[in-house]
């Protein structure tokens, strides 16, 4: 028996989502009284550091590695799960994790719970919590089968250090040849990935047009925040679709969400109301978003936002 965690890499390095998944896996292993084994693919440079988050072993697959193919990866991870006799497999709820989890659940005949946002409890069976109805409710889910697969929602389980770096061992598993061709398109350099961002600055129709986005970007830059927008803004083509947060866009849970010129329709709130702190800037004091906010500023965004940017810069330099 063991807990196997697939620690995903991003541009050659294991990042926060991997550490969050290992933290969850180590807690699960503690509950079950077993080992937490981390698996990496393609030799991330800091794989040994997974030991610092509680992995007792780190194994890496480098043979046959090229690009992500969920069919090929799922087979290799399932093979690895068989080799270490894993009854729990943990992944991040990332693009990779989501594409892999269903395949793994079928291969391993395991119960699957996706987008888990709490550490597990053990009451005969493992019980975890997850957000449902696009953030409007939380469900407690019990796994009923001997094996389970979990994907971990980003920004939900703070990575906790426990243990020390361990030596990375080459796994006795190879990747099959992929039948798909993949080319990575250049991502905007320096841009912060929205689902992983801890600080997010978001704009709505109140900005009146794409030409006015400069003040929002300056605020985001001063804070080191990712930028986002409401649905009407993405649908009008003012901002790219991948910035749309809300029920039919990306659901996020940053530490700080600053909503500027967004009225706060129920579909938008669904995608952001798991944020730790919400600031709303709107000239309409009746905007429904104020009811979901921790801090509100009633005022003209074209005056308030540059003022806030200056205040942030002053705070950072002070």
């Amino acid at each position: 028996m063991s807990v196997l965690v697939y620690a995903e890499q991003n541009e050659g390095v294991c990042r926060k989502p991997a550490f969050e998944a290992v933290t969850f896996a180590r807690h699960t292993a503690d509950l079950l009284g077993t080992n937490c084994i981390a698996l990496t693919i393609g030799n991330p440079s800091n794989a040994s550091e997974l030991g610092s988050y509680g992995a007792t072993e780190v194994r890496n697959i480098s043979l046959g590695w090229s690009h992500f193919d969920n069919l090929v990866y799922a087979k290799a991870i399932a093979d690895m799960a068989g080799e270490v006799n894993a009854n729990v497999v943990v992944l991040g709820h990332s693009g990779q994790g989501r594409a892999l989890a269903g395949r793994l659940a079928i291969r391993l005949q395991a119960g699957l719970v996706s987008a888990v946002n709490s550490l597990p409890e053990l009451v005969e069976n493992l019980i975890v919590r997850k957000s449902v109805y696009s953030g409007k409710a939380i469900a407690s889910v019990m796994v009923k089968s001997p094996r389970s697969v979990f994907t971990i929602q980003g920004n939900s389980i703070p990575p906790a250090k426990k243990g020390t770096p361990v030596e990375v061992v080459e796994a006795n598993v190879t990747l099959e040849e992929s039948q798909i061709k993949v080319q990575t398109l250049a991502s905007e350099s320096g841009a912060i990935s929205l689902p992983d961002a801890e600080l997010v600055v978001s704009g709505g129709r109140g900005f009146k047009g794409p030409e006015n986005w400069g003040i929002l970007e300056e605020l985001a830059e001063a804070l080191g925040a990712a930028t986002a927008c409401s649905r009407p803004v993405a649908d009008s083509g003012w901002r790219p679709h991948h910035e749309h947060v809300g029920q039919t866009g990306v659901a996020i849970r940053p530490n700080l969400y600053i909503a500027i010129g967004i009225s706060g329709a129920i579909q938008h709130l669904g995608g952001v109301n798991n944020s730790k702190t919400i600031v709303v800037i709107n000239k309409d004091p009746e905007a429904p978003f104020f009811k979901a906010a921790d801090y509100g500023v009633v005022g003209d965004l074209f005056e308030v936002v540059p003022r806030l940017t200056e205040a942030v810069k002053k705070h950072k330099s002070g």
Binding site: L71, G95, G102, R103, L112, Q247, N255, G296
Partner: protein, 246 residues
């Protein structure tokens, strides 16, 4: 080109979410149901676009009771050719994926579409499970797609960056925003939908491996602290000292 679109039923995006029976059951009273937006706006419309270019058929498949035929008829009104309904109120993703796999495994579809997730459970599980059950390549979160003969070129959202993927059919694709533009059914489509074939299939038995044991609604925020728009230093101070987020 033989195309299949998996469609799901979800509460309307404006539905009030509440629970009954000691918070174990979703309260359906007064809730309007719709076709899952990712299935309707992106998956179905992309399938129709491919058919319009390359010829072929677009079939809808849905796992659900007879009441749900309203959303199937809407899909037919938007332009699908025919539909299959598997007669079971599904208990989870495994149930849905197994029922669909069982119904279509001998049908040799060139492309099977799902939405990237339902807005109800946000699991994103059915596409991955179904692709494993049918042993198909799976491109998730597709935002662009073009098909030439038996080669599909897709752009997928890989979380923070995009990837271009080339893959030979048959494949399974989960549709994300951007893949197509929503279509509204017209009167002619609605009339024609009434006479299109809707086949009802008996379900197979599936053993569930997980169960929702309770729901809760998130705590409401206590109250909003208003900050003077002239004094943004005060907002920064509150975010730093009180909320401790910057």
């Amino acid at each position: 080109m033989k195309l299949l679109v998996c469609i799901s039923k979800t509460p309307d995006t404006t539905a009030k979410i509440s629970f009954i029976n000691d918070n174990t059951t979703f309260n359906t009273e007064g809730v309007q149901y719709i076709m899952n937006p990712y299935d309707e706006w992106y998956a179905l419309v992309k399938a129709l676009e491919i058919k319009e270019k390359a010829g072929g058929t677009v079939t809808l498949i849905h796992v659900g009771p007879k009441n749900n035929e309203t959303i199937i008829r809407k899909g037919l009104a938007i332009g699908a050719d025919d539909a299959i309904r598997i007669d079971k109120d599904p208990v989870d993703s495994l149930d849905v994926a197994t029922q669909i796999a069982n119904a279509v495994q001998d049908e040799n579809y060139d492309i099977i579409f799902t939405g990237k997730e339902t807005i109800e459970f946000n699991n994103s599980e059915v596409g991955s499970m179904l692709s494993e059950l049918l042993q198909l390549p799976f491109v998730s979160y597709a935002t662009k797609m073009d098909v030439q003969d038996n080669l599909a070129r897709l752009t997928r959202d890989a979380g923070g960056h995009e990837e271009q993927v080339e893959v030979t059919l048959p494949i399974l694709v989960s549709a994300s925003k951007g893949l197509a533009e929503q279509r509204i059914p017209n009167m002619r489509g609605i009339m024609m939908a009434k006479s299109k074939a809707l086949k009802v299939v008996e379900p197979v038995s599936v053993e569930s491996r997980s169960e929702i044991i309770a729901f809760e609604t998130p705590e409401l925020r206590s109250s909003c602290t208003l900050v003077d728009p002239e004094n943004m230093d005060e907002l920064v101070r509150l975010l730093h000292e009180e909320a401790k987020v910057i």
